[in-house]
Symmetry: C2
Subunit: 327 residues, 2 copies
């Protein structure tokens, strides 16, 4: 059933040249007359020849695949983020004729990644998220394969692409302060993610001088709701949410308790996806471009695979979007 494909030998025979000539015509390496080259490429075009990537891979020790590693248990808001991000990765990869092999990890359980590395199924890896003391990073370093992380890490000699969450959150906090806030609460998730820590730090730095309350490790809805109750009871003026999943829960709780936004409580979020972007009133937040993260990471990785030495840490831009929820 599977139609046998054209091989480089077929073409060589058909055109009365050697396979070397065909190979060189395609790759552009080596010395080939323009005439011959055209002839070969024309034939290839006409007969829709596609080189066998396994053969090519074997000869060059390349797979033309890159690994894309994401947590298998991401919550919804992260899924959205990863989807955008991955689309950026795919776009950049496709440009270079690479494909994406996807692997999931569960926190520090990286057996899936390890398998892919052991089997040499990819030429490089993009790690979609970084944890504190990330085992995946250790494994990648050990494997010797080029890799790029989306998100920062404390590990040395790791090529990273990230938003400057510390500055971004500092800036947002600073602006809120300028607008007259005298107290603020941060509600955040578990601190094993680097980004969570960064946001917390930015918040603390930016909010210096005003009364702050920090509620970390809020994962379940009840935990978030309890934090909201505390914040309201303590007459905090503004709740800052570490991501929009938390923000979503916070908004639900405030509505349930009849707390008006922004009159009785201001709300801001450090990330804004479809989950809250239609909310009334509109929520003040930081805007990032997840897709750009993906393309940047992928292009960087491809350059590394080609033997180039990349910029160690690339920081992408963000924008503070002031909306009605903070007046």
């Amino acid at each position: 059933m599977i139609t046998e494909s054209l091989t480089i030998d077929d073409i060589a025979r058909e055109l009365g040249v050697s396979k070397t000539t065909v190979s060189r015509s395609i790759s552009g390496k080596g010395r080939i007359s323009e005439t011959t080259r055209k002839r070969v490429l024309d034939f290839i075009e006409k007969n829709n020849y596609k080189p066998n990537l396994m053969a090519r891979g074997l000869a060059q020790s390349r797979t033309y695949n890159i690994g894309w590693v994401v947590p298998g248990d991401s919550e919804m808001t992260m899924l959205f983020f990863f989807q955008k991000c991955m689309q950026g990765v795919i776009d950049a990869a496709t440009e270079a004729d690479y494909d994406i092999l996807i692997t999931t990890v569960y926190g520090h359980n990286i057996s899936g990644l390890q398998r892919v590395l052991d089997n040499h199924k990819v030429d490089g890896v993009i790690l979609g998220q970084t944890l504190v003391h990330d085992k995946a990073i250790r494994a990648l370093k050990k494997s010797g394969i080029p890799f790029v992380t989306i998100g920062s890490t404390e590990e040395k000699n790791v090529v990273q692409v990230d938003h400057d969450h510390i500055s971004a959150c500092r800036e947002l906090s600073y602006i809120l302060k300028m607008k007259g806030i005298k107290s603020a609460a941060l509600i955040g998730g578990t601190e094993d993610k680097v980004v969570t820590q960064a946001r917390r730090r930015g918040f603390e730095e930016g909010m210096s001088g005003v009364r702050t309350e920090i509620f970390m490790n809020c994962e379940k809805t009840e935990e978030i709701e309890r934090a909201v109750e505390d914040a309201v009871r303590n007459k905090v003026e503004c709740i800052v949410c570490e991501d929009d999943r938390i923000c979503y829960a916070v908004l639900g709780k405030l509505k349930k308790d009849g707390v008006r936004i922004p009159e009785e409580m201001r709300v801001a979020s450090f990330y804004n996806s479809a989950l809250i972007d239609e909310y009334q009133p509109a929520i003040t937040s930081l805007e990032y471009d997840p897709k750009a993260l993906g393309t940047t990471a992928c292009r960087t990785l491809l350059a590394m695979i080609d033997g180039q030495t990349p910029v160690a840490k690339q920081m992408l831009g963000y924008e503070v979007m002031l909306k009605a929820s903070t007046l």
Copy 2:
């Protein structure tokens, strides 16, 4: 930097046997004495040898990859579904030492899939979603590669894994009718997806005898809200939502307008993910197992790759979960 790996020749030399013997020891094919086999496998285990998959692939024309095709522009609720589903695929694939190559398509724009097929990067494909007149299915058929769809299709000779949405929706509708509903509205999305059509049909069949109103092609929140307004105005007793993204919007609108559930309006959904599962009151819905879809599809595909003839259409179970939202 990249540590050169052990090859089959290294092992053969080291053990004083031929590479044939090593290869046969690993694969279990051919005649090898148990003693020799043990010796080889022990050595492999000790030295952590992993065969080069490109070489193996070249020899066997296999890639040990399967393609996983999902829409690149899925909305959130689908992302959640695909994530679960993919995890099932990954689990089943890993068991058989296969990996997942991910490709996105945009409706009928299947250039990404076509590339993967042209380049022979996968041994088989799982299509995550089916459309009416699906171009991806045509392309897959043409390629001659084994493939399985998650979701049904009108195309002939396609191996499918699905839930019986028609029966499920008929059953849910029937139960609602039994509980005394005299009128019901269906709010659904665009009808290019096969599953959307199936749910509509199940609804219509199950609701025969009661007054029904059908609002299709509701994608944007405003469209859904308008449908809700109409349903309320027409004094419909129950709104049935085609998926939980729609349900989510419906619940928001009802709350905004102060319509009490279930006293003034009953609500049921054809799918229930994290988006609405904490809602108060709890929402009546159909429960599916997306992960099982993934593992079933993948196991079936792997069997096909191994040359077996699979069951043409496998239907997985579902469960009607009656909750407070329908009394």
